[in-house]
């Protein structure tokens, strides 16, 4: 962390979206980004689940930061995070069973998502509740944006649809670019997105 002039509250929210985008700039949380973005809906579902956990854990960690002993803070963070993950797991199972089946093991794996533990440790443990909430929200939006873009592009090229609705002619959908929805397509696309970010002004700061 650089300790320049104290950043404004709004910048906690906005920095996560582009400047410190967790996936494309900080390069963390790549596993769900690659694995759950076969369609726009799956990507967005994953992003919403992770966002819920990130915002809630940031707020709770920040709220208890003054009473948590340093030496056991990591186990406590993990318990807090896994509690919220289990909550979202139950809720998704109950109300979004189709999405739950698709995301499968990646819902419980939110526990070990680096973004969430990373923000708890690097930010929420040292900042107030409101700032931590804004930070969690900002990082969530950045994460969701990347997952949504990945999911949309992969679904568009790989199935010719958008949120399950046909957008490309039937002739294309009969023989789509399957590469896009296979795992190599995910690596390829994240590489292209990263290159795009590096090439434009967005990535300048990280170099």
């Amino acid at each position: 962390m650089n300790n320049g002039p104290k950043p404004s509250r709004l910048s906690y929210l906005t920095s996560g979206i582009v400047k410190e985008n967790p996936t494309l700039i900080l390069m963390i949380g790549l596993c769900p980004t690659l694995a759950t973005t076969v369609t726009a809906r799956d990507g967005l579902g994953m992003a919403l689940a992770a966002s819920f956990v990130l915002v809630c854990s940031n707020v709770v960690v920040s709220a208890i930061r003054k009473i948590v002993p340093d030496s056991v803070r990591i186990p406590i963070f993990i318990i807090i995070i896994s509690t919220f993950v289990t909550i979202i797991d139950y809720v998704m199972q109950a109300y979004q069973p189709d999405l739950y089946r698709v995301l499968g093991v990646f819902v419980p794996l939110i526990v070990v998502n680096c973004i969430i533990l990373g923000r708890a440790e690097a930010f929420a443990y040292h900042h107030g509740i409101i700032d931590s909430f804004l930070d969690g929200l900002g990082k969530s939006i950045g994460f969701a944006l990347v997952l949504f873009i990945m999911g949309t592009l992969r679904e568009f090229f790989g199935s010719g649809t958008f949120f399950g609705k046909a957008v490309l002619p039937a002739a294309y959908r009969a023989q789509p670019m399957l590469f896009a929805i296979f795992p190599p397509g995910a690596f390829f696309l994240i590489g292209l997105l990263k290159a795009l970010v590096n090439k434009t002004a967005l990535g300048k700061r990280s170099q």
Binding site: I67, V68, V72, I76, S82, T83, T86, Y90, A94, P97
Partner: protein
């Protein structure tokens, strides 16, 4: 106080306690809905092969031998379950019936699901060669050829073939009014 040994232990204990309490509450709140969703998925797995267009099933008789199949709000047909005595035991059959009373597809329980017919003979009732004959048949055609109908019996397994065919016909006859809605009358 923040770094005292007692507080190290106590803070972890309290965190676990609160977490367990919150999760038990959430679990009890979502359990009925989760069970319901599991049932829906289970029904889809059981009936999907004979009624591929439907996404929802509701029992139509108290003994669950007839189910209405819906796609969204629209009724697309029915599922009928029956089991007649075969050669080695009961032969359970599940069939999807369209709204005109014609069969869409049938499924005969496999040996692992409790079918006790002879391997190589009666067990062939589960194979597509026999099953696929039923697609599109109405109640009057549901009889073995040797009984004046349209279904080829499995060679050497007339009793099993008859159990499937006659069991199905009798079930369709029994519930005909449920299966085929009268035009103009809402059949819920």
């Amino acid at each position: 106080m923040k770094e005292s040994k007692l507080w190290l232990v106590l803070s972890l204990f309290i965190t676990c306690l609160l977490s367990a309490f919150a999760l038990s509450q959430i679990y009890n709140m979502t359990l009925p809905q989760i069970e319901y969703q599991r049932n829906v998925a289970g029904l889809k797995a059981a009936f999907g092969a004979v009624m591929p267009d439907a996404d929802r099933f509701e029992p139509a008789t108290p003994d669950s031998s007839v189910w209405f199949a819906y796609s969204g709000e629209k009724r697309v047909g029915s599922i009928i379950k029956t089991a007649q005595q075969g050669y080695g035991g009961l032969v359970p059959v599940t069939a999807g019936i369209d709204l005109e009373g014609k069969i869409i597809a049938i499924k005969v329980a496999s040996a692992s699901e409790g079918l006790k017919e002879t391997p190589g003979l009666g067990l062939k009732a589960t194979e597509p060669d026999f099953r696929n004959q039923f697609a599109g048949k109405n109640v009057f055609q549901l009889r073995l050829k040797k009984d004046g109908g349209t279904i080829d019996a499995i060679t050497g397994a007339t009793i099993t073939s008859r159990a499937v065919t006659d069991g199905l016909r009798e079930a369709v006859e029994k519930y005909y009014d449920l299966l085929v809605p009268t035009p103009g009358v809402e059949n819920e």
